[in-house]
Symmetry: C2
Subunit: 151 residues, 2 copies
């Protein structure tokens, strides 16, 4: 695991993203936060993760700026964890994981959940990689270029 | 970690996907496979992952059906690991991780790699979740419905 800590300094944004959130529990916490789960006890109940591990993961997510801690919305003494803009921007990652799972990891007749838009109650579009002009791109249709980040 | 093994049987496709590939090294191996890395030694050199761990991760990826093992394309005795259709379908997940990393994990002036389409040498579109009619959707614009998989 020698290079793990170096991923955060890599030129590759995939490596940096995975250093930050490339962990199944972290992504499941974010998934639950999209369902408006906000409290430690609720995350614990839904995920069944050991309390000490959940504490560490939530702390990481706050330090990364993906979750913010705020007082409970009902005025009680609980803390609530809410997604920041950076956290909300993980949505396409979670949906692309969902769509890959739907396609490859269920047998005929098994129950699974679909994601629908509220207005039309239709399944959302299948996410694909597209050029500016809208052409669907495969990995071999793409290449990389190193540039400086403009902040 | 009590529920970890149950994720594979969950109705939530996000949980099943994360059970399969929710691991930073697994996703980095897939990223490298998109760059046409095929041999154990090449993965080892690029990722710097311990050989025994890399062996386990590659075996998992073959068992899941994401990589297939084939004889070396140059006729040598090496084995090559190549992405199956199921593996190639991880592309939007890797690109959405990339785009989130580009946006949030680089400081001004740092070097990073952009993904361009070969034809136009322009950056690919930013991935977003969209309704059938093309409207950009936020998490609160969506809901879930449980259905039976038609295989």
């Amino acid at each position: 695991m020698a290079k793990q800590t170096q991923l955060a300094h890599c030129e590759c944004p995939v490596a940096r993203a995975l250093e930050a959130i490339g962990d199944r529990w972290v992504l499941l916490i974010i998934r639950d936060a999209f369902d408006d789960v906000r409290r430690f006890g609720e995350f614990h109940k839904r995920l069944g993760l050991a309390r000490n591990v959940l504490t560490i993961k939530l702390k990481q997510l706050v330090e990364l700026g993906i979750l913010a801690v705020q007082p409970a919305s009902d005025g009680s003494a609980y803390k609530e964890y809410v997604l920041t803009d950076m956290g909300r921007a993980v949505f396409p990652i979670v949906v692309s994981l969902r769509q890959w799972g739907e396609r490859y990891l269920f047998e005929q007749g098994e129950s699974y959940s679909q994601l629908l838009d509220n207005d039309q109650a239709e399944q959302v579009q299948t996410i694909s990689v597209r050029s500016r002009s809208g052409k669907a791109l495969n990995p071999e249709d793409c290449h990389r270029r190193v540039v400086r980040h403009e902040g």
